[in-house]
Amino acid sequence: MNSLRRFFARLSSYGAQREQDERLREEIEGHIALQTSENVRAGLSPVEARRRAILKFGGVEGIKQEYRAKRGLPLVENFVQDVRFALRSLRRTPGLTAFVVITLALGIGMTSATFSMVDALIFRPYPVPRPGSVVSLASTTHDSPFDDFSYREYLEIRDKTTSYDGVIANASMEAVGFSAEAGTTPRIKGGMMVSGNYFHVLGVEPRLGRGFREDEDQVSGRNPVVVLGPDFWRHEFASDPSVLGKTVLLNGTKFTVIGVAPDSFPGMLTFGHPDFYMPLAMAHVFSTNIQKNFFEDRDDRELHLKARLKPGATLDQARNELAVIAKDFEREYPDTNRSRGAAVYTHFQARTIEDQNWKFGVIFVILALAVLLVACTNVAGLLLSRARARAREIAVRLALGAGRLRLIRLLLTESLILASLGGVAGIAIGYGVIEWFHSKDSIVFATELPVAVPFQMDTRVLLACVALSVFSALLCGLAPALQSTRVDLVNALKSADVDVPGRKRLWGRNMLVVAQVSMSLMLLTASFLMARGFQRSLLEDTGFSKDHLLMTSFDPRLIQYNAAKTQQFYKLLVERMREIPGVQSVALTQNIPVGVDDFDGVAFVPDGFQMPPDRANFNSTMDTVDEGYFETMGVPILRGRAFQASDTADTPRVAIVNEHLAKHYWPAGNAVGKYIRLDSGAGTPVEIVGVAQTIKSQSMQSPMDFVYMPLAQHPVARMVLMLHSSGDPLELVQPVKEVVRSLDPNLPMLLTRSYEEFYLNQVVRGPRIAIDLVGSMGLVGLLLAVAGLYGLVAYNVSCRTREIGIRIALGAASSDVLRLVIGKGLVLVGFGTAIGLAMGFALEQLMNSMLFDSGGVDILAYVTVVPAMFLVTMLAAYLPARRAAQIAPTQALRYE
């Protein structure tokens, strides 16, 4: 209580220093005057009286000090003093200050930008209350730890589990034709089907209207209601609150707007914010798999499940519970659920398992941290040499009785200021990098869906910046501070050349050189490897042609075509396209290679293949194509035949597999003529009529099994039309538009562009950006390292100027001196190289296991990087060495 009151009194008196000092001075004077007059009365001479009075009072300065210490807040006062002093002394050396700040800014900026990536990809919590209790439920198979559930499975899991405060389901965000009024051509927006309890369980309160009610999700097709996303509401309806109750058309069906999600809830997806949400019960309006019945078929797996754990429930309980349910499914529905399990993942697990891109982010962060470390060693070196220049000042302070701790605090304050300046500039750099990611120059998502780069400079990233600044302040400030306050006072005061060649001191500086060489070597190796990895993936032959192709896609469900009408439309479309002059061939495909959407999967059993006992079927990616596909895309058929117009819905089912799959299951013989059965050993038999060359249909991935199905036998609603042109493919756009308009003026053409442009954007641009990013990190690291090395070595030599002078005076040739200095540099660089190589090698292993899987050691990287590094450091040692060797001995000895 008393101490608290004193604290406030101190705080308030903090401002009024001068006044208080004055008060004390006056009091003391008054005191002494009174004592003096009393002494005079006692019979002393005035002078003696005053002397006695002062004597009796005691040391005035000491009292003043004590008084001051009691009065204010010495810690704060000292800190403010330190800051003032540090700012003054930093201003005296603007060049050095600027260099240090820029160096640190580069390091901190890069780290914060890359950290924002990792944060967005794996750490950032869901934008809902108590995000920690939201877990992901996944169906698991041999091939996938993160498969989806079917609607039936969802209902049973929702009703049978007891560990949760609700289980929610959502389908993927998908293209939905939206028109605000009837009669307008629909535009593509991103809609997401969610279960009726979605908003309620997540704890999201709509900013307008309401979320879905559970009864709105019970009867198929009964409740056409829609909740808008906040961004969509703002852009499409100009934040108009009267939107509630309004009717909009989604895929041609009337929906009533019942609510708007709050700004705090842009959606649960990492990439992209859904424009609106619809209840699952309206599934027949949206792009579910038209070959299956969404509400009944247990193998129509389209739902992602999430659940909110009950306050008392543990993850283990939830896992066990779900495992039991999965076992029941397996027993009751062996056709669809054999060897299928289920898993519960935390937010972190879900993000790391579902999407592997975070690994790039982590590697980037490691590299950026390496840049920061190099920057820190650089600054540490600089501060060290600065500390030497100030050695006499520090010695004087020590001699005058300043405590060592106090001095260290002063020096640390200095580096803290430097780091804060660097941090601020670093935030600016990081912000710039992130903004650049957002700009259209970097990545254009080739999709009509509302997809967004999630990287942002938010409080979390800012906090990380602050932490990094403090960390780097300690890192680069502590060693110099400790070292420069540990001086031999007598020597230091005698001459400016304080640097007694003690082993310990040299050791510290040498460590810096070694650290710098090794860090930058690692950085360079890593960026070189990464750049080469991306380069390789770019240069690889993809196995299909990309030029002279025009692509455009159609989704007849947007205007309520049924299956028959859809088939008819595609048939006519292809026929008419062939008539356009300049069109060499025409193809339809469900997905294009390296497209935005994932390929569908197909479960099958190769006929006559001995299945392992624990597996019901194998999985492969698949595509639905028409008979013109292989010719148009330039994919050679190695054996057998391509699809023909004679493969129709009425003839026996056929398929074409890629060579990878053929070799996989029929290593010895020809796969042509063999059969696969869909789903299980008792499923529909499909004859393999051809083997196509394996193409790289997904970028950055190794070749995989692939099955092609003919469109006529495997109808799909949303298809991509590919036209092979004799000239510029974009010249075909106008005639194609006219043809489509003549078929149905209401049908929108989606994603119309040249395939080559699309391909570059999808496949080449990302890796290019990565190469640029990694390359610039390597370059910055190298530049910093060179600057730092040069500084350190030059400084080391300059410290030994006197010694060198003596050597030359005693008869050493300048070549001897050169050898001495360079030899020392060589040893250090050698050490650094060895350590750097080891670290680079470790990092390469890490990268290989995470990203490229190229296996062996990339010799070229080391062969290029190591000599380059050596050369640079040798140069850094040579220049100051030569200067040292040229010093006239008289000059050196007179030096200072």
């Binding site: 009151r5 009194a9 009091e27 005191h31 009174l34 007059s37 005691g58 009292i63 004590e66």
Partner: protein
């Protein structure tokens, strides 16, 4: 001691307090008088005393300290404490060997 002095004599300036303490202690406690001032400051920060400017005997400006309500309470508490302590210690000195048998 400071509190008691102020309690007895009312408002007083620093020198007066120092003199008073010297007198009462019979010059046995003749410490550096200067050390009084930090103590005064602390007491003032704690709110036990208050101070204001006034004129001293020789017509100089001097700072006069006086006890506050808070200080009186503190003095009381401390007096009690001290008396208790003194009493206990006193009993130890009075105690003779036969008292324990």
């Amino acid at each position: 001691m400071v509190l008691k002095t102020l309690d007895v004599l009312g408002s007083l300036h620093g020198y007066g307090i120092a003199r008073r303490i010297e007198q009462i202690s019979g010059d046995l406690l003749a410490v550096n008088q200067g050390t009084l001032y930090p103590v005064l400051l602390r007491l003032e920060q704690e709110g036990a005393i208050a101070s204001e400017w006034g004129a001293s005997e020789n017509n100089r400006r001097a700072r006069f300290y006086r006890l506050t309500k808070e200080g009186r309470k503190q003095l009381q508490a401390e007096t009690q404490d001290w008396e208790q302590t003194a009493a206990i210690i006193g009993r130890f000195f009075e105690a003779k060997a036969e008292d324990l048998s």
